[in-house]
Symmetry: C2
């Protein structure tokens, strides 16, 4: 069974003046979260779309899904954890409780604030996770990547090997959970990314090709881009 | 003496349908290049603003500067080289020929397609180059950076140490040229960036804080962002 895991746990502190988490900001009259959920809902491969929300926003999240997307027993809204990886683990626990986990249970984890993910990216994620156990959606780095420390450059790695991580990141759920549980506290502290759970244990994570326009709405000016990208989508 | 070196050598192959290099595309009725040049021209510290252009576009570049920015003997348009670093070396040769190079001659090299550079960034570049010999303008990486090879992740470096390179990159011109000339062919082959000329020789390159909006117009959708950023600028 395959599950979409929509990560809406962020508090949106980078958005500046607004206190509302970014996934609730509207583009074209509907919250970003709805646009994102609706990229997964039409795909019949997903048993359930699990939306992880900060506790205080669960009611609001359910309400906007009902209002703008419609009632569906294929959508569940549950509470996120204290970190991104704890949030993913809450989703895995939910799946385990309601469906049981087997070796081929796959989760496609995706940022709620990346509404421009495509059917092609989602399908390639499912295929790669089933075949290889884990994958990460990336695009080649457009900027030069610089590694720095104390106001100085420490290295400029070869750009041809550098990618910018997007989402989805997809995993066999049991593999991810068991590996996460095997990490030491020190190992967990350096995690900033779910794919890294496997990478620091030397396991393979495949690359799936993302899209430049599969942006994350992080800063206010991203919203403006998002609005004009959506105009393009609708014009098609 | 301090020189602005505006790099307009790209052929724009990433822009898709258009054959015109990106610096000539218009935002708000004027080419991107003019917006960029006009960020440097008002600063009296610059002896000259040297614009490097592909040979075939030198006439057009001169024409748009005359038409939209105005005639100024502080602007020179000269031919770029076959690579980014060769282009910078052409600028250094021009300075050497017309002014002579001393140890404190500074070049502030900047992408012609980054029209949103600020006075603050330019001033900090000049200061850091004079004081430390070299600097690079960067912002903290917003995306997770992934290092990959053969369709697999090889590492996910600690994001807190990762930056996205912007421009300006500023240098003591003589230091940069002499170091560049000291490189082996193998060393030159791996250069994708002017700052790396010094980094691979173990020299210090300071970090100057850029701005999220100091974007490079690379893809068609960047133009759309650029147009709306410019509306903001004009509203101020």
């Amino acid at each position: 069974m395959i599950f979409a895991v929509i990560l809406a746990g962020g508090t949106g502190s980078r958005m500046g003046s607004t206190d509302m988490p970014k996934q609730f900001l509207e583009i074209k009259g509907r919250p970003v979260l709805n646009h994102t959920v609706e990229k997964f809902l039409p795909n019949p491969k997903f048993e359930k779309i699990i939306v992880l929300s900060p506790k205080a926003w669960i009611g609001h999240t359910k309400e906007i899904i009902r209002k703008y997307t419609g009632t569906s027993d294929r959508i569940a809204v549950i509470e996120g954890g204290s970190t991104r990886n704890e949030t993913i683990m809450n989703a895995v626990a939910y799946i385990d409780e309601h469906y049981g986990l087997d070796d081929d249970t796959v989760i496609v984890t995706h940022d709620s604030v990346r509404p421009f993910v495509t059917h092609r990216i989602i399908e390639e994620n499912i295929d790669a996770a089933l075949k290889y156990g884990a994958c990460d959606t990336v695009i080649p780095a457009t900027d030069t990547i610089v590694e720095g420390c104390d106001d100085k450059i420490t290295s400029i790695p070869d750009r041809r090997r550098m990618y910018q991580g997007q989402t989805p990141q997809s995993f066999k759920a049991k593999l991810l959970r068991d590996t996460y549980l095997s990490l030491s506290d020190e190992e967990r502290d350096i995690l900033t990314d779910a794919a890294k759970i496997l990478v620091i244990k030397g396991m393979d994570v495949r690359l799936v090709q993302g899209e430049t326009f599969n942006i994350k709405i992080t800063y206010p000016y991203d919203l403006r881009i998002a609005r004009s990208l959506l105009e393009d989508e609708e014009a098609k």
